[in-house]
Amino acid sequence: MYTKKECVAMLLAGGQGSRLYALTRDMAKPAVPFGGKYRIIDFPLSNCVNSGIDTVGVLTQYQPLVLNDYIGNGQPWDLDKQYGGAHCLPPYQTALGAEWYKGTANAIYQNIAFVDSYNPEYVVMLSGDHIYKMDYNAMLQFHKEKNAVATIAVQDVALEEASRFGIMITDEDSNIIDFEEKPKNPRSTFASMGIYIFTWSKLRQYLIDNENNPDEDKDFGKAIIPNMLAAGEKMVAYTFDGYWKDVGTLDSLWEANMDLLNPNIPIDLYDPDWKMYSRNPVLPPQYIGNEAQVEDSMIAEGCCIDGKIDFSVIYEGVTVEEGATVTDSIIMPGSVIKKGAVVEYAIVGENSVVGSGAHIGARPEGFDNRDDWGIAVVGHRINISDNAVVAPKQIISEDM
C-alpha cells in the first residue's frame, strides 16, 4: 500500500554505550562490530526485514558518523524503498529551537511526524543493544490477538538474575499487572527485552501527554509504561525463548561473540531462512597460510592468517602474522597482529596494530583472585608497540 504501512519500526540507536569504553569513544554502540562481519545494529535491522517490516526509523544522537555512513540508504538490508525503508533520524532544529533527544520517549515524540507519514496501526520499538533473532511479526500477531495497546517482549530469566532487569508481573493470560525496574526481591522472572509493540494512536497520545508534563521523565520505562499501566490500558507480555543477549558491557560483548562459536548455543548465523544482512566489505577471500593453525574460530573475508588462531572471532581484513597467537579473542576489522605477538582473552578494535612480541591479555587460570582478571581491550586505531604488555582488564585508548 502506498499510503499506509501496517507497522513501522523505531530503532533507538543514540546510546553512547559508555560501558564499552574505548570501543564506543567515536562510534555509537549499535555501530560496534559484532560476529565477524556484522555490527550490532544488523541484528534488529535484519530481524525487521525478515519479519516483513520495511520501514525503520533509526534514532541517532551520540557519535552518529559511523552509524549514518553504515546505514546509508538501507540498501544492504533491502531497506532502500520508494515508500518506507531505513531513515536515520537525528535530533533537529525547529521554529521553537533545537533540542537533543531528552530520553527514549522524547526521541519518539520528536519524530511523531515521521511515524505519522506512514499512517501505521502499530509501532515496534527496538534498541541497538542486543543480539538475537526474532520474528517481530509473530509478536505483532500476538499483539493483535490480545487486542492490546502495548505488548512487551519478555524473557524468562533465572530468579537470581531477575534483579538486573525490568520485571513484568503478569496474570495467567499474559496481562501485565505490574512492572518493577531492577527489583531487589523480584516477584516474577519475566525480564523486559526492551522490545515493545504499541498501537500507534494510543502511544501517540501518551507521548504528547508525557511531553506536556514537565515533571515526568521522558522515558518509556520510567513514564510511558507506568502511565499506561496506571490508566488500565491492555498491556501484555510476549514470551520469547530464543537466544537474546545484551552486549552493553565488554564482558557480555566478548561472551556474545564467543557464543557464536559454541554449537550448543542457539544462535545460528548460517540459517538460510533467517539471514543476517550487513554492509559487506569488498575484499578477496581470506588466505590461510602454510604455517597457520586455525581451529574453532570464525574468520571473515580479506584476512591473511599465518599465525595460530583458536576459539576466536576474526573480522574482515585482519592480518595475523607468522608466529603470532590469538586465542579466546575478538579481532575487529583491519587490525594487524604482528609476528610473535600473543593475544588472549582480549578485544582488539578496528584498524589497530599489535606490535611484534606484544602480549595482550592473559588466561584467567593464573589468577587466584578472579576480580583481578578480565578481558583486555585495545580500542580502535591504536598502535601497541613491540613487546608491550597489556594486562588483563586493562583498556587501552591511546597508543602505547
Partner: protein, 374 residues
C-alpha cells in the same frame, strides 16, 4: 575518465567459451566462477568501473541466465546509474540480422544502443583475461598516438597448447602492430593480445557498417589481421598481473597461482577493489579439529576437516575427517565425512557423500559438473 572523454565499455560475455566447455555448459564465459568469490566478468567490469567508465554494455549470446542473475542492476559495480550505467544486451534478431557470428555482427546488432550513447571512445573487452588494470593510461596513449585501434597486450610464455587459443602480435619499435597471428602454431615468449581494444566510436561505427556491407564478422581476422597495415593499430602493454584462460588446465592454474601472496596482492590491490555480487554469507567457520593450510577460503564456508592448497568458494562445506587437497570447491558444494579428494574442480552445489575418494592430477584436474551427487 580522467581525460574528460566519455568512454563506453563493451563486454563480450560469451567469447572463448569453447576453451572451458565444461564450465560454460550452463553459463557464459563471463559467469564462470573464479578466485573463491568472483565470476570472470567481475574483473573487467571492476576495471571499467574503477577507471571511471560509467556506461557499460554487456553483449551475450546464449546461456545467459546466470549472467543476468549475477549482474542484476549493476549496483555492486557502482553501475546502477540514472544515466548510463549497466546495459545487458542479449541477442535480439530481426529480419535482417540473426544470431551473431562474431564481434562485428554483434556490434551491428546492438548499434541502436551504441547510437544513443554520447561516448567518444569505446573500450571492448572479452572475459577470458583475469587482470587488474586502469584504462586511463591506455586511452591517453590511444589519443596521443592518433591510433585507429589500440590493442591491449601483454608478454607471455606460450606453449603450443596455449598459443592455439591466443592472438600473437608483431609490434615494431614504435609500438605499432604490424603483424597479427591468430592461433599460431608457435611457442615461447610472445606479445599476446588480451582481447581488449580501444577505438573511437566513430571509427568503430564505420568498421561495423563496412563489415555488414561486405558480410564479414570477425573483428580479429577481418580488421586486426586484415587491415593491420592499412589502419594505424597500436599496442598498449599491460605490465601488471594477468592470467589468460585458454583451457580447463589453465583455468585451474590461474586459480591456484592466487595462493601465492605476491600474485594475490597484484590482482587485488587496495586501490582497485574487485566487486562482485553480494551473497550475505556469514564468516567462514573452522571447527575444532579443522586443519587448513595454504588455501583461500570465502565467507560462509564451514570446515571440519583438512584443507590444503585449495580454493573454497562461498558456502562450501568440508566434513569431519575429510581431506581436500589441490582442489577448487565452488559455491555451496559439500564434501561429506571421511572423503579424500585431490586435484578436483567441483562446480556449484556438488554433493560428495561420505567416504569417497577422488583423485585427479595437477595437469588433468577432475571436473565435476554443477549439482552432481556423488
Amino acid at each position: 575518465m580522467s581525460l574528460n572523454k566519455k568512454v563506453l565499455g563493451i563486454i563480450f560475455a560469451n567469447m572463448h567459451e569453447n576453451t572451458v566447455s565444461e564450465l560454460t555448459r550452463e553459463r557464459t564465459m563471463g559467469s564462470v566462477m573464479f578466485g573463491g568469490r568472483y565470476r570472470l566478468i567481475d574483473f573487467t567490469l571492476s576495471n571499467m568501473s574503477n577507471s571511471g567508465i560509467d556506461e557499460v554494455g554487456v553483449i551475450t549470446k546464449s546461456n545467459y541466465q546466470s549472467l543476468l542473475d549475477h549482474l542484476g542492476s549493476g549496483r555492486e559495480w557502482d553501475l546502477a546509474r540514472k544515466n548510463s550505467g549497466l546495459h545487458l544486451l542479449p541477442p535480439f534478431s530481426n529480419t535482417s540480422n540473426g544470431m551473431y557470428r562474431g564481434r562485428l555482427e554483434a556490434l551491428y546488432g546492438i548499434w541502436d544502443f551504441m547510437k544513443v550513447s554520447d561516448a567518444d571512445y569505446v573500450i571492448m573487452s572479452d572475459c577470458d583475461v583475469v587482470a587488474t588494470m586502469d584504462y586511463n593510461p591506455a586511452l591517453e596513449q590511444h589519443i596521443a598516438t592518433g591510433a585507429d585501434i589500440t590493442v591491449i597486450y601483454a608478454q607471455e610464455k606460450l606453449t603450443l597448447e596455449s598459443a592455439a587459443h591466443s592472438t600473437v602480435l608483431g609490434i615494431d619499435t614504435e609500438g605499432r602492430v604490424n603483424n597479427v597471428y591468430i592461433r599460431p602454431a608457435i611457442s615461447g615468449e610472445c606479445d599476446i593480445s588480451l582481447n581488449q581494444y580501444i577505438l573511437s566510436k566513430e571509427f568503430l561505427k564505420n568498421l561495423v557498417a563496412d563489415a555488414k556491407a561486405k558480410g564479414v564478422y570477425s573483428f580479429e581476422e577481418s580488421i586486426l589481421q586484415g587491415k593491420c597495415r592499412e589502419f594505424k593499430i597500436m599496442g598498449y602493454k599491460h605490465e601488471g598481473y594477468f592470467s589468460k584462460i585458454t583451457s580447463i588446465k589453465s583455468y585451474y592454474d590461474a586459480n591456484m597461482v592466487l595462493l601465492n601472496s605476491d600474485n594475490r596482492n597484484r590482482l587485488f590491490p587496495e586501490s582497485a577493489p574487485v566487486y562482485t555480487k553480494i551473497k550475505d554469507n556469514p564468516p567462514a567457520k573452522f571447527a575444532i579439529g579443522a586443519k587448513v593450510k595454504n588455501s583461500l577460503i570465502a565467507d560462509g564456508c564451514i570446515i571440519e576437516g583438512t584443507v590444503e592448497n585449495s580454493i573454497l568458494f562461498r558456502g562450501a562445506k568440508v566434513g569431519k575427517g575429510s581431506v581436500v587437497k589441490d582442489s577448487i570447491i565452488m559455491q555451496d558444494s559439500v564434501i561429506g565425512k571421511n572423503c579424500h579428494v585431490s586435484c578436483i574442480i567441483t562446480d556449484k552445489i556438488v554433493n560428495i557423500s561420505d567416504q569417497k575418494i577422488l583423485t585427479g592430477s595437477a595437469n588433468y584436474p577432475i571436473y565435476i559438473g554443477k549439482g552432481a551427487q556423488i
